[in-house]
């Protein structure tokens, strides 16, 4: 069974993230890393292979889109145990919105030929959480999202069953493979790459594809082809410093006084 994990190289949230003049994310101002939420998907893929649940011939392929730097996200996935990496890189992709991104991912996934596609629940930069649904729609795959537990049965032609925890109920959802599954941060504890993993990653194959390799017309992606356009991106003015008091037995009274002044009690 072939498991593809979609990963994203994102600006570190601890840094001072911002936009470029063309309203696209500034990827140079802040160091990039593998999106934290994608680590759970990589970990789950590797566990499914290690446990034998994905069959004896299981292979985990990490897939990303981005400029050359995005290789770093693949490198981390390989260090964690993915077997191979694919980077789709093409100048025409710059500025793509979620719709364009989903097109590139879907065409690349067709070429990878995965039985199971794993993703994180959202990226930590754009954070829209719509790309997995868009990719599933494009590929005509069942989409089983927000998994807190994944069980495979019957190998490549079999089924995937997940548990998801909602507000009102816990649901068990089932779909036949091939399918797309997004996972939450409740599903596992992603491993730190071991020294052995880091050394092994250096020898693992990473392919680089252009839009031509996956049959995407450059006119269908990028900033100009986006179905939404940022009209404005304004840095929010720094929040006015509020009042901070130190509790000397009267902290609660001052707090309630403040709430009353705001008509909140």
């Amino acid at each position: 069974m072939k498991i593809a994990v979609c990963v994203k190289h994102v600006p570190d949230a601890q840094g001072d993230r911002g936009f470029r003049a063309d309203t696209t994310t500034d990827r140079e101002a802040v160091d990039g890393l593998l999106s934290e939420l994608d680590e759970y998907a990589v970990e789950e893929a590797v566990r499914l292979r290690e446990s034998g649940a994905a069959g004896d011939d299981a292979e985990v392929v990490a897939l990303t889109i981005g400029p050359a730097d995005a290789r770093d996200a693949l490198k981390k996935a390989l260090q964690m145990g993915a077997d191979a990496g694919v980077l789709v890189s093409d100048d025409a992709i710059h500025g793509s919105d979620a719709v364009g991104t989903s097109l590139v991912l879907a065409k690349a996934l067709e070429k990878v030929g995965a039985d199971l596609v794993l993703t994180g629940m959202a990226s930590t930069d754009g954070g829209m959480g719509v790309v997995p649904a868009m990719v599933a729609e494009r590929l005509g795959l069942p989409q089983v999202t927000y998994a807190a537990e994944v069980t495979l049965s019957g190998g490549a032609g079999g089924t995937v069953r997940i548990r998801r925890d909602g507000d009102a109920s816990t649901e068990t959802v089932e779909a036949s493979l091939p399918a797309l599954v997004s996972v939450t941060d409740q599903i596992n504890e992603p491993r730190y790459p071991s020294f052995k993993g880091i050394m092994a990653a250096k020898k693992k194959p990473v392919e680089e594809w252009t839009l031509a390799d996956i049959g995407v017309d450059p006119a269908d992606v990028g900033l100009d082809a986006a179905w939404t356009a940022a009209v404005e991106a304004e840095a929010r003015p720094p929040k006015q410093a509020g009042t901070v008091v130190t509790d000397e037995g009267d902290g609660a009274a001052k707090l309630v006084e403040f709430l009353a002044s705001q008509r909140l009690v």
Binding site: M121, T124, V130, E171
Partner: protein, 325 residues
């Protein structure tokens, strides 16, 4: 005037069984009136639900009730398929959806299906000339962006507590649909549903007051719960508190939990990591209680108390009760 489809979240929650209309849906109707004539689309509401009356009262010219096992027993694909048909038939000016995990996924599939641009996590939506423009805040609140949908039917997923719902009685003609959906859309099937115990508190995602506890509670949420109850609010938790097993994940506020946007967000014993900030930065008023004067939460608080939450919270609860008489 053109129609505006408003997707009503009638998903059962511990506080409201399926069919009851949540406040966030009424907010969507209020926003929709800026763009055209609202048509409410209710998925999975049981027969005899009181939804149409409440929706008509808030401006729904028509209420489309979509039921049947094909829709209820599957995940998002059938809903986006039905909506795509409605978009084709009615050529609406826009589709507004709740910016919940499910609402966003329905919007994602619908975008691809109808060739339409989508904006999620919107905190405002309006017409700018003939374009639909949505406002959202990104990068954990450090930027505010305005996005225009430039292709197809604008699909905008809106966060709760964006506007105050305004009553505006309308016809509310009821149309009942029990659509057939494709086999492909039914390929993910819900095989089991275990209801959770109701907490009796407001729904976290749309509560107008949220009291959250973090590492500083040391695992004891009783003071947080008591204060939330005194204020009539919901209880939230930071990821640290959830990861420690002190509170359920469904109460987690932050990047990987719920996004909240209440009138008041009271953070008790929460340091305010960027991931937490991402989930609550659009709150109107932020109050923090923390022992550590250096905690980053104080930088975004309108009012902060440096001190021990285990004494401050109960005293505040008592004072609020006293004021209420």
């Amino acid at each position: 005037m053109a129609q505006v489809l408003v997707v009503v979240d009638a998903t059962p929650t511990p506080e409201s069984s399926g069919g009851a209309v949540r406040k966030a849906s009424l907010e969507l109707l209020t926003l929709a009136r800026r763009l055209g004539d609202p048509v409410a689309v209710v998925f999975g509401a049981p027969e005899g639900a009181d939804a149409p009356a409440a929706l008509a009262e808030h401006g729904a010219a028509e209420v489309v009730m979509v039921g049947g096992a094909d829709v209820v027993d599957h995940l998002v694909a059938p809903k986006s398929e039905v909506l795509a048909r409605l978009v084709e038939e009615r050529a609406p000016a826009a589709v507004l959806l709740p910016s919940s995990p499910e609402g966003k996924e329905v919007a994602g599939r619908l975008a691809v299906r109808t060739g339409s641009g989508v904006v999620t996590d919107a905190v405002d939506v309006a017409l700018d000339g003939d374009r639909v423009v949505a406002t959202k805040s990104v990068f954990a609140g450090s930027y505010t962006t305005r996005c225009a949908v430039t292709r197809g039917t604008p699909l905008v997923a809106v966060k709760p507590n964006t506007v105050a719902p305004e009553p505006a009685p309308a016809a509310g003609t009821v149309t009942v649909l029990t659509p057939e959906v494709s086999e492909q859309a039914k390929s993910a099937r819900i095989v089991e549903r275990q209801p959770k115990q109701a907490s009796g508190r407001p729904d976290l995602a749309e509560a107008s007051i949220v009291v959250s506890g973090g590492r500083g509670t040391d695992g004891d949420f009783s003071a947080v719960e008591a204060l939330a109850d005194a204020l009539g609010g919901a209880v939230g938790a930071s990821r640290a508190a959830v990861d420690a097993g002190w509170y359920p994940h469904s109460n987690q506020v932050g990047q990987t939990g719920k996004t909240v946007s209440p009138q008041l967000y009271l953070a008790a014993g929460i340091s305010g990591a960027i991931q937490h900030k991402a989930g609550m930065q659009t709150s109107k008023v932020v109050v923090a209680v923390n022992k550590d004067p250096e905690a980053p939460i104080f930088e975004m608080a309108d009012f902060g108390v440096v001190g021990d939450l285990s004494s401050i919270l109960p005293a505040a609860t008592e004072e609020i009760a006293r004021r209420k008489g």
